[in-house]
Symmetry: C2
Subunit: 308 residues, 2 copies
């Protein structure tokens, strides 16, 4: 991208790079950050593509906030403390109105997660956003997928299936009341990654994962990595009133079990650990393999995105 455009774009983002751990932000070949003594680096990258991960008429503010939240959710799932992020933004054209709105969503996310934007790259092409997050973990602690043990209880944060319900609404497949529609769209467009919960679970949970591909698909990752079977009791799933207003109970369960993009955490606690506030027990860890929800439901392909 010609340097004049590049400079113009970075004007929108240059105020977002300050942070306690940041020695050098946007403006040199690399950003430089400091970890605390005895800390390790945790990092993850997530891409969102227009028409695949979000409708092409999404508000730029929401696209930005949601892209950052999706990446931050991976830090939450490890119990990491946010250090900073970089952004690879591919744009079909330079549209000042769009960029201004996008940068407002970015600024909201930077503030919400205390995660400065320390660098980035801007290229021309079909709209796509890659967010790389970096966080800090103690040298000997991390929430992994691999530590679940037989007898552990399985929990999730928040409510499940709201993003899938919002997608169905956006596709015209159902019509919730205006209040419920607004709630669901907010859950889809402005998901809030569970950083504080991740910190609270560090050293207590035996396994954790963020629910970005749907509960059953993600619980299956924990089961596989831990060498256990995860049994989910559908009647225990936490559901929002908005989702429950749908008249087909089976559809609601499909959304809650198979729908992605909720960015809640699923985690396992030893039976003598009391769960953090805001989490719900949904099952238990048993000997065996895979995930058992007691239902006959095809989730073999995991979460299907917007374009599927």
């Amino acid at each position: 991208m010609p340097s004049a455009e590049f400079a113009m774009i970075y004007r929108y983002f240059s105020d977002l790079g300050r942070g306690d751990a940041v020695d050098l932000s946007v403006g040199d070949d690399c950003a430089i950050m400091r970890l605390g003594e005895g800390e390790r680096l945790a990092t993850s990258i997530d891409t969102m593509v227009v028409g695949v991960h979000f409708p092409s008429d999404s508000f730029p503010e929401d696209i930005a906030f949601r892209a950052v939240s999706a990446a931050v959710s991976d830090l939450a799932a490890m119990g990491a403390r946010p250090l900073g992020m970089t952004l690879a933004l591919t744009l079909p054209e330079v549209d000042e109105l769009w960029l201004n709105a996008f940068s407002q969503g970015l600024a909201a996310a930077v503030g919400a997660y205390q995660l400065p934007l320390v660098g980035g790259d801007t290229t021309r092409g079909p709209l796509s956003i890659s967010v790389q997050v970096m966080g800090a973990l103690p040298m000997t602690l991390a929430l992994l997928r691999s530590g679940a043990r037989v007898g552990d209880q399985v929990y999730v944060s928040g409510t499940l299936g709201d993003a899938a319900g919002a997608l169905a609404f956006l596709k015209g497949q159902w019509q919730p009341t205006p209040d419920y529609a607004e709630y669901l769209l907010n859950r889809f467009n402005r998901p809030r990654a569970r950083l504080e919960l991740g910190w609270a679970l560090l050293g207590r949970a035996t396994a954790a994962i963020d629910i970005s591909d749907g509960l059953l698909a993600d619980a299956a990752h924990v089961a596989s990595a831990s060498g256990v079977k995860i049994c989910i009791e559908p009647q225990l799933l936490p559901l929002s009133a908005a989702l429950c207003s749908h008249d087909c109970r089976e559809t609601v369960l499909q959304w809650a079990l198979g729908g992605g993009d909720d960015y809640e955490l699923c985690f396992c606690l030893p039976v003598d650990e009391s769960p953090p506030v805001g989490s719900t027990r949904i099952g238990q860890v048993q000997a065996g393999v895979g995930v058992d929800s007691g239902l006959d439901m095809d989730i073999s392909h995991g979460y299907q995105h917007f374009d599927d």
Copy 2:
């Protein structure tokens, strides 16, 4: 992307994640890496889009190697030691032949730079590759753009303009001899980031930058960040025999001064510092602003990419 495809793709990459600093690689919500005692994190992200940064008929091996080199070049320009990288890969479809070739290029880059691939995201969409590199720097040293002082000598590594010459060949604008064409294409497709040079310059160079946008554009960044004027003497520019075989001297100079994608380093040394082997003095730092090459040449828009 459905999880079956995702798993298939990661089969190609899962062997590339081992490294001394890697505690946890591909397969959990985040990768985990360790920095050495008293080290800081240096990080940068670079995106390449098909038809913009590389011709759509490029070999997948070359696309992978070049995308990694472009990102690693930013670590080189800071003097950083490579720790690991993540990859955000957007693919229009899952093509096993393509992925196999791409992973071979990735493996070559992982080996060449000792930079394990610790994580990634794969999404469906127009072909695009974002590489985020992470490296380690001593707590008190870094090669910045901002330290050039009046009286310093200005150097570059390698030869300049080769990638621009290769692009002109690919566009059918000139026809070098087969040997020269092969040399130029190799410079374009397989650029080698100057990591060892960056380390050698740490603590010695007053400023450094990688030449990804063209010498004049990148030297202007150093001039601006350092508050000095950079004077370049065109007759000193290091040129390859392949480039010099073009019959128009002015075109060759335009490529050397304005062409991007060479991924060489431009750096400033105090007059009493002897330059590293393989670097060439091209000018000096004076009081003033901007870059002066003594030529009347329009480079106001910096380097123009493949699609321009």
